[in-house]
């Protein structure tokens, strides 16, 4: 079973994402900000991170930068999932090693399609 770390400060978004991802047979666990996510990654690298941008303590882009410099941190597929939807943000995310990008609002089909695109689903 593939693991997915959902990083979002909104409990509602985490819950929705969890439901969608569990239906897609992911082992889902959560973090509420970038720092929590980073600590989590230090003990266990997930197969994929679903990542919000704006969060307290440490935002998504700082987390991504930190993750990619960790040993083994280039392994997880990182999919942004954020309300930031301008090209500048998207380009920055790609440049720093994000694999895909979801602009909120999203639905289960978009998650499924994006995860299929990056090879996480058959």
């Amino acid at each position: 079973m593939k693991s997915c770390l959902v990083v979002d400060d909104s409990r509602v978004v985490r819950m929705v994402a969890r439901r969608v991802l569990q239906d897609l047979a992911f082992d889902v666990y959560e973090a509420t900000n970038g720092q929590e996510a980073l600590i989590s990654c230090l003990s266990r690298m997930p197969d994929v991170v679903l990542l919000d941008w704006n969060m307290p303590v440490m935002n998504g882009i700082d987390f991504l930068r930190a993750l990619r410099s960790l040993p083994g941190g280039d392994e997880p597929v990182v999919v942004f999932c954020t309300t930031e939807s301008d090209v500048a943000h998207i380009q920055q995310a790609i440049d720093l090693g994000a694999n895909e990008y979801i602009m909120k609002p999203f639905d289960s089909e978009i998650i499924e399609l994006k995860f299929t695109q990056v090879g996480l689903l058959g």
Partner: protein, 271 residues
């Protein structure tokens, strides 16, 4: 709706488009045609049928278009496009090395995601296609989808369905909440109104034909006829892409003309 009205309407739609309205889809007639009746100030579906019997060509067209399903997305199902890139294109690059030309037809293209996916895919392969003449003709019976396709403007929701993010930033410009396709890519596709069951193919000698998620709406006879016409419009070694549910046995094609490479997702081996 009376059985007579129901029969009249589904018959009209089938004769003009090939689309069969099955029992379980009868509610769609009501759902989609009532608004037309209201808009034209006709007395419900009964009034609509009376008007159509006059007959009223423009109204009949509107009815047919309303009964089409235009659901589509970029790089739909992934596999066909992967196959196009890794197998079909290399094969044709070799086979057409002398003429350096490729003719592509996206039949039943709806709002354009399919032909534009092909265009982006080719653009990504630009190095190998340098000096080639590539044409993409995209056709559909429904005028409203063609208008949208020609505009090449998609919502945030639409660009998130099937389109990799790298291609979005590369080939689209954000305008408010909408995304506009690069004019150079838009220019690669020629959109034409075309009824696949009534008109001759929009050209001959096609090298690649996409006819996906259309045949599912037709009955067996119509499927066979369309497949034969497609085959007749294609080069001997051309490749036909059918949708997951549009797969059909190879025999009707073989009876007309042999297509060696019929790519189908439902039945990867053969057709």
């Amino acid at each position: 709706m009376t059985p007579t009205e129901l029969e009249f309407l589904s018959d009209l739609v089938r004769r003009r488009s090939g689309i069969v309205i099955t029992r379980d889809k009868e509610y769609l007639l009501e759902n989609r045609l009532s608004p037309i009746a209201t808009q034209r100030k006709l007395a419900g579906l009964a009034g609509l049928v009376t008007a159509l019997r006059r007959p009223d060509e423009a109204l009949a067209r509107e009815v047919v278009e309303a009964m089409t399903t235009n659901e589509t997305l970029f790089f739909r199902d992934g596999r066909p496009f992967e196959m196009l890139r890794t197998e079909v294109l290399p094969m044709l690059l070799k086979e057409r090395a002398a003429s350096r030309g490729l003719r592509i037809w996206s039949a039943a293209c709806s709002t354009g995601q399919e032909p534009y996916s092909i265009a982006m895919l080719l653009r990504e392969e630009a190095v190998r296609l340098a000096g080639w003449r590539v044409s993409i003709v995209a056709t559909d019976i429904t005028r409203s989808v063609l208008t949208k396709a020609r505009a090449g403007v998609y919502s945030q929701f639409e660009v998130q369905r099937g389109l990799p993010i790298t291609l979005l930033v590369k080939y689209f410009k954000q305008v408010g909440t909408q995304w506009e396709l690069d004019p150079a890519l838009r220019a690669m596709v020629e959109f034409r109104e075309h009824n696949i069951i009534q008109e001759a193919a929009p050209g001959a000698g096609f090298d690649i034909v996409f006819c996906r998620n259309l045949l599912i709406y037709f009955d067996q006879d119509q499927k066979r006829r369309v497949l034969n016409n497609l085959a007749a419009s294609m080069a001997e070694d051309a490749v036909l892409f059918l949708g997951a549910l549009g797969a059909y046995s190879a025999s009707p094609i073989a009876s007309n003309r042999s297509l060696k490479n019929v790519a189908s997702i439902a039945v990867p081996a053969g057709l």
